[in-house]
Structures are given as C-alpha cells and as structure tokens.
C-alpha cells in the first residue's frame, strides 16, 4: 500500500494540479471575453422561442416557474410556453390549468413516462426554430432569455446555449454547500464553453436550435440524465454549445443530505453510464477538448474520489489498530504527556504545497464564479461548508453509482 499507494496518490495530485492549471490558463486566455451585462439589452431580431416546462408532481414550485416565464423580458408573441404535465398525481394539473387563458401558453397532459417523454411531446408540437426547457423547480431571471438569444444572434453556427444556474434561497448548510458548488459550476462551465467542451445542457433553461433535434433526434432516457445524454450526442457530432454567464436561472436544491444523495446518485450514475455508452469518443482528437479534456477529467475525478476514500478508510483502520495494540500493551495509562507545539513536527512534504495550490485555485473558481453569478467578490461561509459536505458524502454516492452500474440497477428520480 505504501509505495504503490504513494505513487498513485502523487499521480492524482499531479492530475488535479494539471486540471486546475488548465482551467486557470483558459481563464487567463479568455478573461477579456467574460462580459457580464447589467440591465436590459435589445436584439435586432427576436426569434420565436418555445420553452417547455415538463412537470411531474411539482405543485409547490410550478406556479412561480410559470410566473417567471410570463415576466420574461421577451416579446410575448415570440415566446411560447408549453406546460407539459407528465401524469402528476398531485395538484400540479389544476395549477397549470389556471393558465389556459394565456394566448402564448399551451397545456399538455400525458401519462407518466419520464421527463424525456414529456420533452419529446414538446418537440413534436414545436413550431419555432428555438426550443428550451425549464425545469419546474427553477425560476428564470427576466433578462435570461434575451441574453441567451443574443448569443445565437451573434453566431449562426451556435447550436445550444446554457445559462448560469444559481441556487435559489439557500436555507441551511446543505444548500449553502451546494450554493458554493454552483458558483464553481458557473466558472467551470464558462471555461468549458471557451474550450468547446461542455458536457451537460442543464434542465434549467438551456436553449437549443430546432436543427439539433431535427438532425440528431429527440431526447432519450439517457440513464435518467437526458440533459447529459443530449450534450454528449451534440459533442459527438461537434455541435457547438456555449455558456451565457449572465443568463441567470435560480433552482431549488435538495434541503437534506439524503435528498442530495439521491439527486447526485442519479447524476453520477448517468455520468458513468452515458460515458460508457459514448466511450467511442474518448481520447479522439476529432471530438476536441470534450473528448481529450472534459471526459478524462471527469473519469479521473471519480476514480480519485474513490481511491482517496479507500485510502482514508485504510489509514483510519490502521490508526484504530495501533490504538488497539497500545491498549493491549499498556491498558489505559493516559500518562502525563506534554503536548508542546514544536514547528519541527509540521510535515512539509511535496504534496503539502501542491494541495494548498489546488485548494487555492478551487477557491478562486468559487470566488470568480460568485462574481460572475452575483457580481460580488469575496469568500462566503457557504464555500467553507462545501468541502466537508462534499468530501464526506460524495464517495458514498460515487460508490453506490458504481455498484448500481455493475448490477445494472437504475436510480429513482427522487
């Protein structure tokens, strides 16, 4: 364990420094291109857009989601809203039925078949050149759509634009930790956008050109992560995806660790299985940075978290074992030991500096992500919650996702 273990650890440390430096270099190269617009903008031409809201038992949030679409700063006649009830068993249908009088809202009701079937129903009825989805647990900023559409206006070759997803109304430290994670997500998404290597087109308000679905087909189950599968498929066909950093969408996040666990289990399971499905694109130059950077980095980070966890368990058990030996040898003799602080005993090994460097760059990504999301510089308490929560719980959902993949069991949505 020691020598080979140390070498593996060194390799992971090297990789994580490499990845962080890669992002930072990308940032330095493109920092002048990161523009955060304040206030209203106008487009030369307002293309008609359809936003589909698939909903399955969303009675608590659906009303606000629809309201956020209605108050969007976009010409009403150019924005069509599809409310697609996917066989809800709660009050969702009666809430969405209140919106029948709006001329730009169309309501669909279908048997429950999963989110991708609801989206495909939307695609089937699509009459506009642009199609977006807004998850029913999210609210869009009034300026978000017009900012997204400005990207399409500038670049006719652009096929999809993803927004900045921000945590709505975080109330406890579990949500706080996710808030920090989403800040980081904003930064990384922008960097991946510069690299042409975005791997998820998230449910909250990604807008696609209709051509994507005409050429590549509709949504697929995608191991319950249809928003990842469509992004993989687009990357496989080299369809360009960009990130519009100043289009904000606020999303509700799981409040408790078990709920977060289920959500992440689904995401990681989706990641592992979509990656297995699309393994053919790995390490092929023609698929660009998505194939040589994003996917390998994600695979390495899953492996690293798993490895580190095994290592921590090993270290902890050898610590417990040494305590047992001590007990066997001397019993409970606490003795009079003076713990005098001596800087001599601070272990300044190579990885000490590298770990500090990596953490500094991670903090930078959170801080800069926050600036892109909220326009504020600085640290927040949420950033401190992030590390304990994610480092303690993530190995478990990772391992369960691996286990489920092996025994071929699909995780539930909630």
């Amino acid at each position: 364990m020691t020598s080979i273990g140390t070498i593996i650890l060194d390799i992971f440390i090297f990789l994580s420094v490499y990845v962080q430096v890669f992002f930072f270099v990308t940032f330095l190269e493109n920092r002048n291109k990161i523009i955060t617009r304040k206030g209203k903008i106008e487009l030369k031409f307002y293309s008609p857009v359809t936003i589909a809201v698939p909903c399955w038992n969303e009675e608590t949030t659906i009303h606000n989601t629809i309201q956020s679409l209605l108050s969007m700063n976009y010409p009403k006649d150019k924005l069509k809203i599809f409310l697609i009830d996917d066989g809800s068993t709660d009050n969702t249908l009666s809430i969405i039925n209140k919106f029948t009088s709006y001329p730009n809202i169309k309501i669909f009701h279908k048997e429950n078949g999963g989110k991708f079937t609801a989206l495909n129903l939307g695609l089937k009825n699509l009459e506009t050149d642009f199609f977006g989805c807004l998850d029913a647990d999210s609210f869009a900023d009034p300026e978000s759509l017009v900012r997204i559409m400005s990207y399409f206006e500038k670049d006719p070759g652009l096929m999809a634009v993803v927004p900045s997803v921000i945590v709505h109304n975080s109330k406890n430290f579990v949500q706080g930790a996710q808030k920090a994670e989403y800040y980081m997500g904003v930064y990384f998404k922008k960097m991946l956008s510069f690299l042409g290597a975005i791997d998820v087109t998230p449910g909250p308000l990604t807008v696609f050109r209709k051509k994507v679905f005409d050429d590549l087909g509709g949504y697929r189950l995608g191991h319950n992560t249809e928003d990842m599968e469509i992004a993989y498929r687009m990357q496989q066909h080299r369809y360009k995806i960009e990130h519009c950093n100043d289009a904000y969408v606020y999303t509700n996040t799981p409040k408790t660790i078990p709920k977060l666990y289920r959500q992440r289990l689904r995401w990681i399971f989706g990641f592992i299985n979509n990656t297995i499905d699309y393994r053919g694109v790995l390490f092929k130059k023609k698929y660009g940075n998505f194939s040589v950077f994003t996917l390998p980095v994600r695979i390495a980070s899953v492996t690293a978290v798993f490895y580190l966890f095994v290592r921590i368990v090993y270290n902890f058990s050898s610590f417990v074992y040494s305590k047992i030996i001590m007990y066997e040898a001397v019993g409970f003799h606490p003795g009079v030991k003076n713990f005098v602080f001596d800087p001599f005993f601070i272990n300044i090994q190579t990885f000490f500096f590298l770990v500090i460097l990596t953490y500094t760059l991670i903090f930078f990504s959170m801080i800069f992500g926050r600036r892109m999301a909220e326009g504020k510089w600085g640290l927040s308490m949420d950033m401190l919650y992030y590390f304990p929560i994610f480092s303690l719980v993530a190995p478990f959902w990772l391992m369960q996702a691996m286990y489920n993949t092996i025994i071929n069991r699909k995780p539930a949505w909630r």
Partner: protein
C-alpha cells in the same frame, strides 16, 4: 468549429504543472534540510553537555556530590530521540538521518555510562534500561514494548531508557550486542541491572524490576538520594 484542438496548450499546461511540482519538491527538500540542520545543532549541544558533564564528573573526585548540578543530564536527549524517530518516518531513511541515528546511539551510550557512574558515586536514585529493538516489519512486539517503556518513563522520572536499533552500523552498539549476547531472533530485548530480558515484558513485570533496581541501589549506597531531573530518553 472555432475551438479546434490545441496540443500546444496541453503541453504548456504540462510544463507549468511540472514546474510547480519541481518547485514543491525543491521547497520540501529545503525544509527537510532545515530539519536535519536543527537535529545536528541539538546533537552538538548534547555532545557539549556530555563533555561538560564528564569534565564535571572528573572534578567531582575533588568535590562532594552536593555540587552536582541538575545540568548533568542532557534533557535534550529525549527531544532529539522523538525528532529523529519522526524524521525517519517522514523524511525517509536518508543517509543523513541514518548518520544522525548513529551519532544519537553513541550519545546515548555515553550518557548511560556517565549517568550510571554518577548514580553509583552519589547515590542518585535511578534505574537504567537498555532497550534493543528492530524497525523491521513483523516485530509488533517491539511496537508494543516501546509503548510500555514510554508509559513507564512518564510514571518513573528516575527511569532512564536508552533505545538502540538492532541494525545500527556502529561498533559501539555492536559491542553492546555482543556483551549482552543479544540476537535478532529474540527482539525486543532489554537489559536491566545487567540482566537480559527477551520478548514482550508487561508494564507490571517491568515495574517490579524497576522498584527492585531502586532498592538494590539504596542497599548498596545508604547516602540520601539527590533528586535528579526527569531523565528523558528516546521514545521508541
């Protein structure tokens, strides 16, 4: 697509990362060397202490035991021991650490001889244990014995434990192994009052022997004992 694949960037980032790695290795070596230097300076201080104690002891033939100062024992010996042990674990078994380890063994022997002489001459209450261990794997008893000895040391400040790695390449240590006929198959081994004990010794068993050792001393030397400072030796 505008984002054509750019090998150059991957290479540049690799170079930067390697640069960072080498800087980190350099810094780590720099601090490692500083620690070695710190160890060296502690050793120098101890060797001066011992030399001074020896000189003081020679003078003692003309003076009475009342004049023995507390400084006759080197309190840094224990500190050096634990720092050396730490360095072996964390800095790796470099030549420098091995060299310091040898020097440390020598200082221990000198301290042992001197402390024993002073104790006999001036009737200072003390007990001595020479402890032989090995760092080779599969000596779990050595680990346990070390814990026993450090427990006893905190309980009996008058107990002085000198620990020697069996594999130390030093003639003085080798002669001790010969004198007490210690074999690597019978480790851990201890010498207390010239008696050799092999295998694991429990706290209770050793405690009786230490007390016996104190008694022997007071029987041989009825002069009132002079309180000595805590004799810390290497924790191993």
């Amino acid at each position: 697509m505008s984002d054509t694949f750019d090998w150059k960037k991957y290479l540049i980032v690799l170079l930067i990362t390697m640069g960072l790695f080498f800087t980190a290795i350099y810094l780590s070596n720099y601090f490692g060397n500083q620690k070695i230097n710190q160890l060296k300076s502690i050793q120098d201080k101890i060797s001066i202490d011992i030399l001074s104690s020896e000189t003081q002891f020679s003078l003692l033939s003309e003076l009475s035991c009342k004049n023995i100062s507390n400084s006759i024992y080197s309190p840094e010996l224990g500190e050096l021991g634990s720092k050396l042990e730490w360095s072996q674990k964390n800095l790796g078994s470099t030549d420098e650490v091995a060299y310091l380890q040898k020097y440390y063994s020598l200082l221990q022997i000198k301290d042992y001889l001197l402390a024993k002489q002073i104790s006999v001459r001036c009737g200072i209450k003390s007990a001595f244990i020479l402890y032989f261990y090995t760092t080779a794997a599969n000596c779990s008893m050595c680990e346990q014995e070390s814990l026993v000895l450090s427990t006893l040391r905190t309980e009996y400040p008058e107990l002085r434990v000198y620990s020697f790695d069996y594999s130390t390449e030093l003639s003085a240590v080798k002669s001790m192994l010969q004198i007490y006929k210690i074999k690597d198959t019978a480790l851990p081994a201890m010498v207390i009052d010239d008696e050799v004990l092999t295998g694991f010794q429990s706290v209770e068993g050793l405690e009786t022997r230490i007390k016996d050792s104190f008694k022997l001393q007071s029987a041989a030397n009825p002069t009132p004992a002079v309180k000595t400072p805590a004799g810390n030796t290497k924790k191993q």
